[in-house]
Symmetry: D2
Subunit: 307 residues, 4 copies
Amino acid sequence: MSASELADGLSKVGFQSVELERAVQTIVKMKKAGAKIFFTFTSNMVTSGLRGFFAQLIEIGMVDVIVTTVGGIEEDIMKAKGEKFIIGKFGADDVALHEEGINRVGNLFVRNESYERFEDIVGPMLKKLYKKKKRWTVSEMFSEIGLELDDENSILFQAARKKVPVFCPAVTDGALGFHLFMFQQDNRDFVVDVVKDFSNILFCTSHDDVKGLICLGGSISKHHAILACLLNGGAEYAVYMTTAQHTSGSMSGATTQEAKSWGKIKDDSDAATVVGDVSITFPIAMVHALEILDADGFVAVKGGKKC
Amino acid sequence: MSASELADGLSKVGFQSVELERAVQTIVKMKKAGAKIFFTFTSNMVTSGLRGFFAQLIEIGMVDVIVTTVGGIEEDIMKAKGEKFIIGKFGADDVALHEEGINRVGNLFVRNESYERFEDIVGPMLKKLYKKKKRWTVSEMFSEIGLELDDENSILFQAARKKVPVFCPAVTDGALGFHLFMFQQDNRDFVVDVVKDFSNILFCTSHDDVKGLICLGGSISKHHAILACLLNGGAEYAVYMTTAQHTSGSMSGATTQEAKSWGKIKDDSDAATVVGDVSITFPIAMVHALEILDADGFVAVKGGKKC
Amino acid sequence: MSASELADGLSKVGFQSVELERAVQTIVKMKKAGAKIFFTFTSNMVTSGLRGFFAQLIEIGMVDVIVTTVGGIEEDIMKAKGEKFIIGKFGADDVALHEEGINRVGNLFVRNESYERFEDIVGPMLKKLYKKKKRWTVSEMFSEIGLELDDENSILFQAARKKVPVFCPAVTDGALGFHLFMFQQDNRDFVVDVVKDFSNILFCTSHDDVKGLICLGGSISKHHAILACLLNGGAEYAVYMTTAQHTSGSMSGATTQEAKSWGKIKDDSDAATVVGDVSITFPIAMVHALEILDADGFVAVKGGKKC
Amino acid sequence: MSASELADGLSKVGFQSVELERAVQTIVKMKKAGAKIFFTFTSNMVTSGLRGFFAQLIEIGMVDVIVTTVGGIEEDIMKAKGEKFIIGKFGADDVALHEEGINRVGNLFVRNESYERFEDIVGPMLKKLYKKKKRWTVSEMFSEIGLELDDENSILFQAARKKVPVFCPAVTDGALGFHLFMFQQDNRDFVVDVVKDFSNILFCTSHDDVKGLICLGGSISKHHAILACLLNGGAEYAVYMTTAQHTSGSMSGATTQEAKSWGKIKDDSDAATVVGDVSITFPIAMVHALEILDADGFVAVKGGKKC
């Protein structure tokens, strides 16, 4: 049985499987319409094994703009340098893990050493950047760093190669923030210009572009991409995938329906909200969308590396 | 790309996709161990397009005992008689639907006529049953009804053919309850003996049997199968798939971990709890488990009808 | 600061606190309108400390019909006989608890002895019932048992005293089911007539009655009360409180909006759906509703015992 | 009945009400221990009516450091200038709202004019800041702006008065981001120094301080405060209140247990995770904690304004 047949079967089941199919169709339509596609995800998606899949999506030209949180960037760099995360258990003994120097993210484990080595990687990179100029936007910084990673499963590497900007509106909210701060202690004129980066995301599209959103999880990643679309007239296509529910009024749980009241997406846009764990729903939807797009000549999927 | 490759990919992603893989492995193990498999689901699973898939699981001998709620039984009969449910939208206008005679179950629509025709089907069936004897257990009744349905996509039909008992501890909680009551009005000595049916579920397994649980959604279906296992020494294998969370102390959200405190499942049992919409998670897990079991000669999957 | 002031404050906060206030107002309105009030709850609500509060609601005439699952009935009887449950932790070691003979329900602990003593209580009760007659509906049985409990914090006791019927459509789904089965082994003509009990719930109200629903949690308790209202023309007032979400198409998560498509509640009914843990939301809403109703002379709240 | 009695009653109910009581006790203990208290919340909490309550918490010295997202800051300023948000419905017609110029946040409505007026307020403020100096950290900026607001229900105003720093690691992710960008277009040497602000949050506490976390909702607000505590040796006390579940491995749903593996909170810390809508759980917990702290002389609660 093929993955497509499985997805076809799911499309007629009902409840969230039907919404998943709507997500597939919306992704297919936004790509066929030549939309500028904003792709957002939370850090835990990079902690998970989806990183290589995301990198491949960039490589094949499936997405045009990325917004994420800094934890995901850090882990992308760690993994590019050979770090491996461990599949563990949700119910693990956290005090025992702490003693062993292991940090838990749900049912995934990250060793303290991964963070320690990250320090050794980032220091020289910042020095190199600083030599070039003193004032950097985040997306420029990530592009420079990405070029150095040389790992085809790296999000930053593929994004740098394909000139897909990677935005991260809260760049200091992680280990990288700490290293930036340490570096600035010694180099007071070093500036990370987040305001300028806002113009970068704003001008990476326009009112005239057809725009699409694929938002995995909530957080400022989701909001920031939506904001950039809103300020450019609203998106024509939107897929939100999340475990958050709309009932608490949070951004994370806000639906594509709520988005219409704001003009974040257009009144007549194609849109789908899928509630469920993105580690399951996204690969299924995207693999199916890619198969359709590949068959119709809109993207060229290579060898089958994935997840 | 094959469904197996997709599932393999998912198994390394993390979070619920990892738990999904654990569910696959647990299902494979319970079948290979020759476990008596209790399969439970809520009514909305039958409202959805999973009904034919469930029927096929019975047909190929994948499951041994079924527990569900009466709404699912009603809809299985309706569909066996040709009723079709409609894929609609969660945000539909419910007052307008009401005026059109349409009942909403999430994003699925059921017409009033489906219920009206159900009345015409059930009446003669009850008469026939009553002629045979006056006192029936629910599982016996369903077995008789199943034989009359002659629809290979019907859960009751396949269960009757394969002598898989179908338990329904709250048989009056639906339209069928109403028709049973109407019938009893005219036939006072007609008795549905739920107490006797409890002995049926209790004796359909034993302490000596290896026992497995596959519970989709919560409700009394889940609890009843667990109870039957508990009273027979606890299950060796358990897979719970649900959207309910453990934090509110409900049966629906109770995890396989909590089950160990009760002896519902054994301390060293293989178990997995997958949080997410069953309309997505179950087909993926079960299709993958079947491919493994088929390859290893433990079940023979036919033609590929599914979902 | 008074509880009323707190509730008043909450009513203007937004998100679920606003829905909570809508629940308060709906409860007040249904009582003032003289509605026949159906009150449903899942077993875990009785495991929790809400049991005494529920009993008090019956005592003061706040509710007219009760529907629940059998686990709650069992625990009501256990507690009436002096059993005490322990407040524990969600993350407790379940294998260790099992060895100590402790069963976990979320963060509450129930000792094995509680179930063992239950056996000693139920046996004589069934004998007594059987002496009176051979064929019982569940609600009649519970009324007889209730009269024997003599505990003013008991749901069954207060319900029996106030002639509030207690329905339990899946009476065999628990320890009581096991004891009924054992008793029937020795007394083959002992019959629990669930079909007849369906007529009891159906006729405890009518098309002419104004009807109200207060449903805590999901499960067949919720569905059964709704069904009884539907078959009597639909409810004028409905409050659903649950942690389940509407997105999976389950009965537990079905909203008062969805209910309108079915005619379960009337198109112009007053209705509120509050998403959240009932152990928090219900006491707050009901205490506030009672204060309003007490002040306006619709109920007489006694001494302040509660929760 | 007093709010304290209500809370006392809840403390014995079970499930999340018990966790709520643990949150109360943890808040009381952290204050009595003289902890440096980090208080974080998501924007929708300020959209809701909790803003005035938060301002009061600052005023009475209950919290020492604030971390939030920029949407909340914007709305705090709008409301300080007289904007009023409307309580609406979750199921409102979003296309119709859009035509009326109304933006929906769950069941709250914000008019377009509120955003338009915000523009007029922010422009002059930025000019004034720029005159003083060219390079600002976010927390300094907010302190200056706060002093101008002159609204005792304003978070920024009270924080500025009480010298409670307000951190916002993603300052550009909202309307303010747009205005900062516009201002920088004309004033290229205007810099918002987020890296420097990281040192501010890092140095607002120390390894020697006893540290407490009160985190409402998830997002980078929660993570940023936790990070500051982690880098200072971990917190001794932590209360997380959220609707997010731990099962998807997100930061938002991460529990205080998971935090121990990282050393975010100490192994022997007092901690509580309450799952539920913060619009309900937080006011109840905090009002109760304040009553205890007030009675014991640790804070002085004024007049009763709240929520």
